[in-house]
Amino acid sequence: QENTDSLTYIMVSHAPDSDSWWNTIKNGIALGGKQMGVTVEYRNPPTGDLADMARIIEQAAASQPDGIITTLADFDVLAGPIRNAVDQGIDVIIINSGTAEQARDVGALMFVGQPEYDAGFAAGVRAKGDGVGSFVCVNHVISNTVVAERCRGFADGLGIELGDSMIDTGQDPAEIKNRVIAYLTANPETDAILTLGPTSADPTILAVQEMGIAGDIYFGTFDLGDEIVKGIKEGIIQWGIDQQPFLQAYLPVVILSNYDRYGVLPGNNINSGPGFVTADALEKVEKYAGEYR
């Protein structure tokens, strides 16, 4: 083996700078890097433009790291640059979005994560089981093509048309809150709310509280955060889909380090989610929400 003391891994995400969910990922790779004694770097397209992300992957490959950890937010856009990296001898692990098949297709070692559409679909099936027939999807990043897949999956899981039940709320909490209120006032027959992350979930919790329907309306959300955990505890939110971003970041660093050092590799893809977090067993979640959860 060549020198395996100073290994460098680069993580490339598709999230814009300020997206709070990815913070957990950053923390995860940082911890992984520290524990394994390797250098880890985090890069992302500042505006969340996937085409810019492709350039960053090319850039990462040019700097010849030992491995690249990246999402497969859009197969068309990212497959080329990822394949080029793989063919140069750089190990790649796909995390978060994309599917196991796509990961294999681009030549990645493995896939760690939760395909967005599938997660949405699973949530939809679950909600259908709970008797939900209609929903509103609160999308705070309408232009983000990855996140919207969750709503589409959810609708398909419920077996209904997405139609105009996905609302574009923008990122301002007051606007999100008031738009949700407006929508629910105008469509009182809505059974369920699906939020796509803490940014939209937090104001939505306030919205349902203010409308006095907290606990009455079926409320599910993706990803975790302080307020979401509190909401689950208080019974406002039925479940949060935790795809455990920490694992998506931490595990690849560990796997790549061990692969480079000792040549060992798990035989299968790892599904970090969807894990449904409900009111049971919330303690740890509560403590680390937003940081490692």
């Binding site: 700078d17 709070s20 913070n23 923008g170 301002d172 738009r179 606990g215």
Partner: protein, 370 residues
């Protein structure tokens, strides 16, 4: 001299009504009427005009108003500020860092945040005034710099980009209440008890009125609009604002302290952004690195819909407030009216265009611009 009367055969007559109507706010007034007529016709039974619905779009409009007042005065003074949105995110984050992470008393956290943000506003103004660079560029740089810090600081100190627990930290704080409380609670309870407004019939707030008070946010908006309007139209300083924006060189020649006026307006804009941010963190209890994105454009749009001239020297605070109202009502109304939400942007663009065309026409009537 024969023509000492103000009657002039070279001027066609203009009716008194027409003369009374032609004022900077006219575009805003017409727009407001149009917008309300539209929604009264098409979304009347959607709950938009129930007490709760009214509070809903009033709150959103009040938010816009707070930043629009600052943007309006600054725009009249001939500059504008693209860093408003970043400033909102930054201010909220500072409150959270001081108040939650460092656990300072909330009033201190808020005061220090105001001081820092106003200092940033002054810096913006100072750079613009001293270098003569367009404020577009200078504040674009500030936009990036502040947003960068807003992401970097919490990540470094807390390894999170959302910091919560502000509501708890502000519990019982007098200054916090000035931004986060609701007023008139007993009055609304009384209204509810008498059945004049709806009460919750189920859930955790059964028996309480659906509207339980007016948020301080709205109070702030009204106060800022009133003060802004009076300062602009009725004081010496207001005249300086117009002068600084109309032609800085000419104003300087006439003895107006243009630099001071501009810097003060940048500081006032920062003040408004901070008010916005503090109200927001008090209401939502958390500060996030993504707060306030694109708010600078929304402020500018409200101001322009309200009839101000982008190049300075002309405009009205009342107009800007009406612009904010129109913007808020349209935005919320489209949700009440169940319009496909991705078309919201299309509507916004179209309304913006129509509003500025109307305003330009009105302004030409008033100023006889060539």
């Amino acid at each position: 001299m024969t023509d000492t009367s103000t009657n002039d055969e070279r001027v066609k007559e203009m009716s008194g009504l027409r003369r009374a109507l032609i004022r900077p706010e006219l575009g805003g007034i017409v727009g407001t009427i149009a917008v309300f007529t539209f929604f009264l016709l098409f979304a009347f039974d959607s709950g938009m005009f129930s007490p709760q619905g009214v509070l809903n779009w009033t709150t959103v409009s009040a938010q816009f108003m707070i930043i629009a007042v600052g943007a309006c005065l600054l725009m009249i003074a001939g500059e504008f500020d693209l860093s408003v949105g970043s400033m909102i995110g930054f201010a909220g984050m500072m409150v959270a860092i001081f108040g939650v992470v460092l656990a300072w008393p909330m009033w201190l956290a808020i005061l220090v945040t105001f001081a820092i943000c106003i200092a940033f506003g002054a810096l913006n103004g100072y750079i613009v005034v001293k270098t003569g660079l367009p404020s577009f560029i200078v504040t674009l740089a500030t936009l990036f710099i502040l947003r960068g810090f807003t992401i970097f600081i919490p990540q470094t100190v807390e390894s999170k980009t959302i910091i919560g627990g502000i509501r708890e930290a502000a519990e019982g704080d007098w200054l916090g209440a000035l931004f986060g409380a609701k007023i008139g609670g007993p009055f609304f309870q009384w209204l509810g008890d008498n059945g004049w407004i709806g009460v919750f019939t189920r859930g955790n707030r059964e028996g309480q009125p659906v509207v339980d008070g007016i948020p301080m946010l709205i109070v702030w908006a009204v106060v800022l609009v009133v003060i802004g309007h009076i300062v602009l139209t009725r004081t010496r300083f207001g005249n300086w604002i117009f002068a600084a924006g109309g032609d800085a060189q000419a104003a300087r020649y006439a003895g107006v302290p243009v630099d001071r006026v501009k810097i003060l307006m940048f500081m006032f804009t920062a003040f408004c952004a901070t008010v916005f941010a503090v109200c927001q963190v008090m209401e939502f209890g958390s500060a996030g690195a993504d707060r306030g994105i694109l708010k600078e454009f929304e402020a500018i749009i409200a101001v322009v819909i309200g009839g101000a001239l982008l190049t300075g020297g002309y405009g009205s605070v009342i107009g800007a407030a009406l612009g904010a109202l129109i913007f808020g009502v349209v935005q919320q109304g489209l949700f009440f009216a169940n319009v496909e939400s991705s078309l919201f942007r299309v509507f916004l663009g179209v309304i913006l265009l129509l509003a500025v065309i109307l305003n330009t026409y009105i302004r030409r009537l008033i100023t006889g611009e060539r």
